[in-house]
Amino acid sequence: MNSQPSALEKIIAFVDERVGLKTIQAKMLNEPVPGGSRWAYVFGSCLLFIFIMQAVTGVLLMFYYVPSADHAYASTQYILHEVDYGWFILSYHFWGSSAMVVMVFAHMSQVFLWGAYKKPREMVWLIGLALFGLVMAFGFTGYLLPWDQRAYWATTVGVEIMDKTPVVGDFIARFLKGGPTPGQMTLSRFFVIHVMILPAALMGLAGLHLFLFRKAGPAGPFRGTPEELKAKTDYFFPRQVWKDIVAMGAVFVTICSLAFIEPVVLLEEATPDPGDYHPEPEWYFLFLFQMLRLKIFSGEFGQFVAGVAIPNAFLLFLAALPFIDRNPERNIFKRPIALVGWLIVMTGILVFTVSAIINREFLD
């Protein structure tokens, strides 16, 4: 064997001495996963992957996109119809946003069902909730940017809902719209929020989320004696990394397929005259949209209840959850209220979403 280090090895050694790469890499990969790797743990990594791809495709879209009321629509159409593979980049970004929301629900459900929000992981859960809010804000602000009818009306209704917040609602709505009605200022504001403020906030909070997660350590399964867990424990690398990579691959293939099968098609350019278009938000806001149609949420107070009070109360409840539910029991089958609660929320969202879709027929 040749004992002289090669040039490459020397370079690596040089960098490692100054950066400590090998230690960092070892620390990143050598994290014991109590009870061993599982497919149930892939969602967080998938979210990180989807976010990175959204950042990449988003930056690519900005090569052509112009955030102005008279050019946003034309530049988006240009990306879709003129730029080589523009339709693919835009459609990937579009479907990626849906994938992000689906994955957030999966991730939160997993953490909830596994009881992983409990002590000592309360802060991880809280930061996670903030990240959930950011993901929804990404979806909402990004939706306006193509400046077609769909975009314009989803934003109009969405901002009107925020307007119903007591005391600060009017200010928030005017701040977001940059005036009394949606227009150029709205587009400018949504653009800067979507491409600067939210990504910076998400990167910071996701970093904090990971840091806190590593500090608290993975929760592991909710069943099994310490001996059983110990016997099955492995490091993050390679088994969990392998599962994560496979899941990311599946997510990637799914998003690409959706982009191929259902590429983005814009409606007419945005105007305050909806024409024949029936405004509707993106599918993950449909349940809220449908809820606002209910008779019990009619009138000024009803709208406040459905549009502002219920969603915010639910988020507040989730934030308070680790402090209310102090029982260390993590097994979901021994937490009947949690299990039933989760089922009710999921069923509720599903029922409202489906009924919103069924309602479309009634309108045509």
Binding site: E31, E160, M185, L229, P279
Partner: protein, 313 residues
């Protein structure tokens, strides 16, 4: 007490070797084994579980076994372990007590006489806040610039009454409104309103026997719609959450009404809410009709979703 590195190892009969390494359990984060090597142990270090301990005192580990039994303990295999620097285990340091005493570095000379460290910490924060505070107001004003635009009371010509054939039927008038936003050149924006040639009963329902006044932001009356004037114009914006509503035949009701497709608010020709979540009737706008039949309106907008009419444009 945790066994310490370099501790002597006392077997049942005599002292053989010293603690060369300590092994931790990654889940319980407690010491699970020690590695014994050195004097008298031979070239092969041995891995001894804490269950074999008699006791741990100061710098000595007492074992129950006799030194002759050392061969019964498994040989230590370095490749089966990583150091704690190469692994990430939460709160490992809190459970770790194997450092051979404190490891210290001196405080710099200049720092030794600084008694008021808290004061300086607070002062640093205060200076930071003083740098940021003066920016708050300018930044707020900066982002608020376009938020409260003055009302636009211009009359806009939107079409002719000869388009309206039947009484009490909603007719949509589309028009272009000139909008000047910030730095942008003045642009035409598509808008629409609904106009009704109202029969006397409907007119009565709209005006409730009173003329309708329209005001500027200062409260000054800009225009008055006379209660007997037959043409009524409704803002195209649904008072629920601002969508565009339509004039639709609803089979269930057996007649034509205004329907908003967003949240399914339904209004009768007088603008009254028949069904759905809307908090108030449709918003009438100022209208005047020239002798030629040309219709002019002031395109006001009201805040959606509130019971009272609050003008925003």
């Amino acid at each position: 007490m945790q066994p310490k590195l370099k501790s002597r190892v006392k077997w049942a009969d005599r002292e053989v070797g010293e603690v060369t390494r300590v092994i931790l359990d990654p889940l319980s984060r407690d010491v699970s084994h020690i590695v014994v090597g050195g004097n008298g142990v031979g070239t092969q270090e041995r891995q001894i579980p804490v269950s074999a301990f008699q006791s741990v005192t100061g710098d000595t580990v007492h074992l129950r076994a006799a030194s002759s039994q050392i061969g019964q303990f498994p040989a230590f295999q370095r490749e089966a372990f990583v150091t704690i620097r190469e692994v990430e285990i939460a709160h490992l340091e809190d459970h770790l007590d194997v450092e051979p005493g404190e490891v210290l570095v001196p405080v710099p000379e200049l720092e030794r006489d600084v008694k008021r460290r808290t004061f300086f910490t607070n002062l640093t924060h205060a200076i930071g806040a003083l740098l940021a505070l003066p920016l708050l107001y300018p930044v707020l004003r900066y982002v608020m610039k376009p938020m409260y635009a003055p009302f636009d009371n211009r009359w806009i010509k939107i079409g002719n009454v000869n388009k309206i054939k039947t009484e009490d039927v909603g007719v949509q008038f589309k028009f272009k409104k000139l909008v000047k936003e910030a730095f942008m050149p003045e642009a035409e924006v598509d808008k629409n309103v609904w106009i009704l040639k109202a029969s006397p009963p409907v007119l009565e329902q709209v005006y409730k026997g009173k003329d309708m006044e329209f005001r500027d932001s200062t409260g000054q009356v800009v225009w008055v719609n006379k209660r007997d004037f037959p043409y009524v114009v409704y803002s195209g914006k649904c008072p629920h959450l601002g969508c565009g509503y339509k004039w639709r035949k609803v089979p269930k009701l057996g007649r034509e009404i205004f329907l908003c497709p967003c949240h399914l608010s339904i209004y009768d020709p007088s603008g009254k809410v028949l069904d759905g979540p809307a908090p108030r009737p449709l918003d009438p706008l100022p209208i005047r009709v020239a002798a030629s039949g040309d219709i002019e309106i002031i395109d006001m907008e009201y805040k959606a979703g509130v019971k009272a009419q609050v003008r925003i444009v």
